[in-house]
């Protein structure tokens, strides 16, 4: 399936974030570094959560931060931030979050192939814990690669 590329600039391992906003900003910054998004995309991802609540915490320990396609998205991109200390998003079942995915989608038409790739990785219930416990960027890339 078509997961976006995951270059090393898009992966942060063992990050420290004071709260969920900072955790989402780390994912946004990783998307900027990898060339998938502009600076403003972090604010858009945060606005989605401010507006609709913590629904982006779609599985225990995992947040899928994302916003709509728009001018702040430069290319399809995925970023992965693992947190040294889990943060609360305020989700009734899936807190605390240890792994934050940042997803940038250039065109809504093609996004289903991308999310099908995410489903292939994360339908394996051990993937989130494996990512949370990964100690290097290469280990994170390997987990995503072997399940794609």
């Amino acid at each position: 399936m078509s997961l976006p590329p995951l270059p090393s600039e898009a992966v942060v391992v063992g990050a420290t974030a004071a709260d969920w906003r900072e955790a989402v900003r780390l994912a946004g910054a990783a998307l900027v570094r990898s060339g998938a998004a502009r600076e403003g995309y972090s604010d858009e991802m945060i606005r989605m959560i401010d507006e609709h609540g913590p629904y982006v915490v779609i599985a225990p320990g995992l947040a899928l931060a994302h916003a709509r396609p728009g001018p702040d998205v430069l290319a399809d991109g995925l970023a992965i931030v693992t947190l040294a200390t889990p943060v609360e998003f305020g989700h009734p079942h899936n807190d605390p979050v240890r792994v934050v995915l940042g997803l940038a989608i250039k065109s809504a038409d093609r996004h289903l192939a991308t999310v099908a790739g995410l489903a292939n990785v994360f339908n394996d219930s051990s993937a989130i814990q494996d990512l949370a416990e990964a100690t290097s960027v290469e280990a994170v890339q390997a987990i995503m690669e072997e399940n794609r």
Partner: protein
């Protein structure tokens, strides 16, 4: 039969619900169309949908509907999806 998956952006999380719901429906041998949409477009896409898949956060915004509103906690848990879809459609 029609099923609508709802999230805030209409991409990303609702897309994952759509992909996994389609996988589950195929396994259950149930013929259904699953549409992913954002909460703002729900009135335009709901039509005669029998089920709405979503997160707890959107239940209030979805409001009154003839469709069964099914809240999914773990979007990657196809066992949860299977149980809840079977109940809603059974």
């Amino acid at each position: 039969m029609k099923i609508v998956a709802i999230c805030g952006a209409g991409i990303g999380s609702s897309g994952i619900l759509k992909v996994n719901a389609e996988r589950v429906l195929k396994r259950l041998d149930i013929d259904a169309v699953v549409v992913a949409a954002d909460i703002a477009s729900l009135p335009a896409v709901i039509g005669d949908a029998q089920v709405i898949l979503t997160s707890a956060e959107f239940v209030e915004a979805i409001g009154k509907t003839f469709a069964d509103v099914v809240v999914i906690e773990n979007y990657f848990d196809t066992a949860e999806l299977t149980t809840k879809l079977e109940k809603a459609l059974g």
